[in-house]
């Protein structure tokens, strides 16, 4: 271990124990090796969050559904436009 590691008093023993446990037990203990990479939320995740009835009033849920449908319809409009262009040109 480097000097800076010692100075910072990092919980190295706990990490070593977790590593040992992961090697012995496997399963969910292996999660310590997962990279802590947090991806930005997807459209589906956001829709799900906003339509959660527990946290949002029913009016809000209807609005989310409506706008999500609008975004999907808008995408399909573009796809059809491109498809028409490819067929006729």
């Amino acid at each position: 271990m480097t000097k800076s590691c010692l100075e910072r008093k990092l919980p190295v023993e706990a990490w070593r124990y977790a590593e040992h446990l992961a090697m012995e037990e496997r399963g969910h203990h292996l999660k310590i090796f997962d990279i802590n990479h947090k991806k930005p939320p997807t459209l589906a995740q956001i829709t799900l969050r906003l339509t959660d009835i527990k946290d949002n009033p029913s009016d809000c849920v209807k609005i989310v559904d409506w706008i999500a449908d609008g975004i999907k319809a808008e995408n399909d409009q573009w796809v059809l436009n491109v498809a028409s262009y490819l067929v006729f040109c």
Binding site: M1, C5, L10, V12, W15, R16, E19, I32, I35, N36, H37, K38, K39, P40, P41, T42, L43, A44, Q45, I46, T47, L50, C60, K62, I63, V64, W66, I67, A68, D69, G70, I71, K72, A73, E74, N75, D76, Q77, W78, V79, L80, N81, A83, S84, L86, V87
Partner: protein, 238 residues
């Protein structure tokens, strides 16, 4: 395809009467599409037209009693909050705007993820299938895969542009600081895959969307902490 879109648009317009006040044609502004293409040096011929049965489309359109055959569903401007330009109506649309803002951010995230996957896929196809093809048959197939990957890239690029365009109206300046404008030079293949060990690699940088992620605070804080146990474990093994 068109009949399905008709139904989608019709349902959306019907529901709009519940959430929106009566709109005039001047209150709506269609999306200004910015054409984006892959850089000329990396362009491949567009993919063959998709298999679309127009006959079926037109028949379905005629069957639709409520659909107006003179108006194509893909040409209708949908009354989404980002398309409404009327200043008078804007205060009454606050709740709708906040919802659209969140959803557009999700759409942009999806599009950027698709863009990253598409570019990496195209790069790999060029490196493996195209470079290693030994016959005309293999080469034709390899280039077909590349064209397909490029179509996917352009599709995601359009989707991102649409989301960003909407965020200009319904988002905040902070959103636009995260979601930058997409340029043609950003749609290049990953040179670290296709041309590894090339001259000038050290000073080459990837497009901004490859680096998009958690804020700087998160990066310098908890993220770096994680490097420490990994390093210690690795050193222990060595």
């Amino acid at each position: 395809m068109r009949a399905h879109l008709w139904k989608q648009v019709k349902d959306f317009l019907n529901s709009a009467t519940i959430f929106l006040p009566t709109l005039e044609e001047v209150d709506l502004k269609p999306f200004e599409e910015e054409v984006i293409d892959t850089p000329a040096e990396e362009a491949v011929e567009p993919e063959d037209p998709v298999d679309i049965s127009l006959e079926e489309d037109f028949n379905c359109e005629e069957d639709d009693e409520n659909g107006d055959p003179s108006v194509l569903p893909e040409m209708i401007v949908l009354p989404l909050p980002s398309n409404i330009i009327s200043r008078e109506l804007r205060p009454s649309l606050e709740s709708l705007i906040s919802v659209e803002r969140e959803l557009r951010k999700g759409q942009a995230n999806d599009a950027l993820e698709g863009l990253r996957v598409g570019l990496a896929n195209k790069s790999l196809l060029l490196l493996t299938n195209v470079n290693k093809s030994t016959s005309t048959k293999q080469s034709t197939r390899a280039w077909a895969s590349v064209r397909n990957a490029q179509s996917q890239i352009l599709c995601h690029a359009h989707c991102y542009q649409r989301a960003r365009q909407a965020l200009k109206y319904v988002g905040t300046p902070e959103d636009l600081a995260v979601y930058h404008k997409l340029k043609e030079k950003d749609l290049v293949t990953v040179k670290d895959i296709t041309m590894a060990k090339r001259f000038g690699q050290g000073s080459d940088t990837l497009a901004w969307f490859w680096r998009i992620g958690p804020s700087q605070d998160t990066l310098t804080g908890k993220w770096m902490e994680e490097c420490k146990p990994t390093l210690i474990i690795l050193v222990g093994y060595i």
